[in-house]
Amino acid sequence: MERIHLLLPDPAKKPAALILGILFGFLLQKGGVTRYETIIGQLLLLDFTVLKVMLSAVLTGMLGIEILLRFNLVALHPKHGSFGSSVIGGLIFGLGFGLLGYCPGTAAGAAGQGSLDALFGGVGGMLLGAAFYSEIYHRIEPSVLRWGNFGDITLPELLRTSRWKVVTAVAALLAAVLAALYLAGL
């Protein structure tokens, strides 16, 4: 079945992206996740705001995208991965995450609320880190990045079951974790 789409024409993409980006930044700041204290509080397991925001975003987005998929309105874009890329890269990210207290999106947001450590340290450091990665990419691409390569597989493909079963199970799990966080007063 051919995809019906509401895709914007090219000239409209950047203006639309600017508006969506402004909305995203607005939401991150109102959610408190552009604050150093909130992110470090999460990593020290004292404040669960970050987890609540992320789990409810994944829950809503997952159900929304699933419905839109049924109507052929969207296409999925799962990222490729491998243990060498996803796990090692993820751990490097994590070590920096605890030192910086922001991630790329929330550092950009924190800069907008006046947090200069996020602007000069965070954004500056991330640009240096990204530049460094472009220097080493050709060396790690044939080796580390290919360790335990699994491509762009999704959980339903991995488990060889229907998308709806996995979506239902993950939705129930996320809802249960969110409910538990609220019941525990976290």
Partner: protein, 173 residues
Amino acid sequence: MSWLTMPRWPAITVGVAIGLLECLTFLLLDKPIGCSTAFTRTSGLIEKALRGNAAAEKPYYRLFPPVIDWEWVFVAGIPLGAFLAAFSSGTFRIEWVPSLWTAIFGTGISRRLGAALTGGFLVGLGSRWAGGCTSGHGISGCLQLALSSWLASAAFFAGGILSAILLFSLPGR
């Protein structure tokens, strides 16, 4: 309009709204929300400005050419939106050192900037290494049920929890 002047919205409200924003981005732009690619494009643009076109020939910049695309514009919108949110609630303030950092490590700006720069470097490196960050993997990839994203997100938080706990239990801090 009192909700507009509120300094904090409930986490679930914000999360649900971000989930809907994802659906809108998929619908209108046929791509999930992501932030860290824009940092690669910016570092490429800077290298190109400093060292000429040879820098843009690096294999990684051929994969992610140093251009301003709509995802870059999206990320540029984030500080604008955050400014509007902070301004609307009167919480905008210029701050070099966050209060929690001050309480533990003192008010020294260079100490905080050194940690932030080191952490930022690792976040920039790790997000490109893993092919995404807390938005691209953590939210967008997880909601698509991508295995790469669930693994990367687990690693982001495992590393982050370890790093924050070690930092905050440093002896003689």
